[in-house]
Symmetry: C2
Subunit: 505 residues, 2 copies
Amino acid sequence: MRTPLSSTRFLQRSSRLLSTKPPAMHPLTAASLNPAILNVEYAVRGELAIKAEEYRNQLKNPDHGLPFDRVISSNIGNPQQKGLDQAPITFVRQIAALMEYPALATLAPTAFPGDVLARASELQSEIGSIGAYSHSQGVPYIRHNVAKFIAERDGFTGPYAEYSDPNAIFLTAGASAGVSLLLSMLIASPNDGILIPIPQYPLYTATIAQFEGKPIPYYLSSSLSAGWSTSVSDVRDALAKAKSEGVNPKALVVINPGNPTGSVLDRGTMEDLVKICEEHSLVLLADEVYQDNLHARVSFTSFKKVAHALQSPAPLISFHSTSKGVLGECGRRGGYFECTNISPEVLALIYKMVSVGLCPPLQGQIAVDTLVRPPKKGEPSYSVWKEETGAIHKALAERTSTMTTRLGSLPGVKCYPSPGALYLFPEITLSQKAVEKAKEKGKAPDAMYALELLDETGICVVPGSGFGQKEGVWHYRLTCLCPGVEEYVGKLEKFHKGWVERYGA
Amino acid sequence: MRTPLSSTRFLQRSSRLLSTKPPAMHPLTAASLNPAILNVEYAVRGELAIKAEEYRNQLKNPDHGLPFDRVISSNIGNPQQKGLDQAPITFVRQIAALMEYPALATLAPTAFPGDVLARASELQSEIGSIGAYSHSQGVPYIRHNVAKFIAERDGFTGPYAEYSDPNAIFLTAGASAGVSLLLSMLIASPNDGILIPIPQYPLYTATIAQFEGKPIPYYLSSSLSAGWSTSVSDVRDALAKAKSEGVNPKALVVINPGNPTGSVLDRGTMEDLVKICEEHSLVLLADEVYQDNLHARVSFTSFKKVAHALQSPAPLISFHSTSKGVLGECGRRGGYFECTNISPEVLALIYKMVSVGLCPPLQGQIAVDTLVRPPKKGEPSYSVWKEETGAIHKALAERTSTMTTRLGSLPGVKCYPSPGALYLFPEITLSQKAVEKAKEKGKAPDAMYALELLDETGICVVPGSGFGQKEGVWHYRLTCLCPGVEEYVGKLEKFHKGWVERYGA
């Protein structure tokens, strides 16, 4: 019989084994640990997510007494989670299943289209068993396919390896693992700084804290007409301020399309950012995991393409993932980063570090291969693939549009356009009364908003304070992944109106 | 057309993109990186492994001019790699395939035994899609199954959660990821030390270097009758010496069964080691990934069981993996660690840190579930499972025995008994002439032995210097995974005899 796992009870039962003989001295306390760990914060899976998990368990009891009948986890970009409706792409899963159990090709040949059988057989001959460690940098053949994808995506017409070098590509366990590795290498002293956008995806502040560097925030601007944007002069100001304070800037993080903002950079801004990296000897860390999540009339331009056109010598590392886009394969932990203008000496050090971890998960690597080599027109799998991916893009675009309009119509709410990624990041005006109430409770005002939203509706969002925001301005982030958008937005509206009644606009 | 990937050419082609406009200044050099990174060494995938990869590519050319026709990677415990003969366990892969593509249960029901279909359906209802992020600590249901497995393995007869708490278990991307995380948390200052056996698996020295702690070596002893053993007084001496030098010991690493030694600890020694941890406020890090690889008349006793019997309050973290044992599923990156006598406060910090990385790979988690819940007698999959796992155990035992005897009969070679794990760690006497020749070449003498072995036979092993050894004593580590043991050992014998002719015994 399975004990239900409540998140509050998450830790209650440990170290009671020996309750008959309590330890005289318990050497392992938080105070004895690496102090950097204590400064790490990751709001996406923080207090609210833990409380949501508690409610989810409570709902299993018919007499739960809660004012909602399900918890909706809008706090995390996890498209295939229970309760959301994004099914996996059939092509991806058919190949994955054949890689797991190659005998299926003869046991159940009719269960798979011909192109899937051929693809799986090709991958098997390149890789062998997916139960073996691969090359630490990732299967060479898959890295070649990634390089080809990058060259084609960016419109490069020569031999792909002249544009993107498979030996400078590292497959990873999701983009996060790559970001963490690179930051651990770049931060050489507590005085080293990393420029990050604010608001940012909290992986960056968490990892900078872990490796004891200094975040150098540059604030993004928002306007109802243009959405969120990056001001090059604000980046320059942030740099100058950091230098004047004795901080040594090492890298510039850019998230494009933006998380949590959903913004998409224009080419001029991208060029200026590349030039700043050149001028100030910064490594450009381009988080481009949402490059395939575009739901307005915008297209994606990679930093690789921009840097190449400028013939820039700026070191560039760009990240991609199988967790977002139309695949949404978060659970298999797949991704890659590509290094441009990185010296062989430094690449060899990166290789050494990844070799200690042996290799990225093979099913993540296989998913990367599928990401960069989807079925082509005329192939048996193409029509299903086209239909499935089209439906995902369409649903996301429609939800984003509906949610933006409706949330933006609420009193005291500004919902900026979000042409990319999976999120909205509405700004909420919070009254003096609400701010004081939050202070009383020892919460950030937007965290109180998010907590009351969860308590009342079962909808879990992340308060803006988890991402960073300008002082005195409040937001929350929610995903645009929830099905039944009418009912969902209806709940958000009803809650917000009640909030305004309680605390004023 | 795929460019063959030579490992020496591994990095040659990068950063040449912009050769027309060489950067005036290349800010990212090894000297600008975290200096701790430079001190990391990981011999298992070091110089020899890279050279082996080169030879493997060279062999694709019919006129390769090499004195062998295949490379045998005996440097790494990777049972399913190409060229070795360990096939995956069918039960594991059938479940994995159904988790990838649940439609197979209706598309090809006859391809799967009934218990596999039932198990997959149960896991699907617990987990949902394996394309979703799970709980950061791992799927709760799988953690419950792990706890049950631990209790049953250790002969605990009460309710399993009283012996092993699912909330104190963390599923990981292989054991390495867990070891790395824990060491990053335990090392709080450059003065903090970690006791490690010498010889050791180089993950430990690599990770301690990365997080800037101090390794505190305790040397294992070897004898032809008793094999490798751990002397409790040597551990005490190492502790005293470290303390006298101002080092602050935080944890004791024990690898049991041993890597690279293959030794299995006796219960008395284990009890003493637990007591040392109590006395000196050390965390016991028990690397037990080879617990199922026992091929002599020995049985495995876990540190959990020993600590429990002693009612010890010593904090204990034990690691297990899906990469070794009979599964040998290295590529999916699965494993777990169990925390005992660790405070809720510290568990919460571990949880926070794993949440930044989102979750371990789901196929690794599924493999952990299969590891802890193999088919039972009477179930449809049992007989195939029994046959497959029996054949793996038998082959390993036979190879280990043959190799130990034959290598141990060579002049100047001592091959200690290896009742556990996957390796032999023969000691080789190297003549003064050989030592001088190695010095000339700037190599460790055992590295020169291993390099000449590779050049002559295509067999890749790891020199003892990669694991640590007493001064002036030389070894190498090789796996017992290679099929065709007669031919394989024949090559090792022939090489060794030639070596003795060249350099003397």
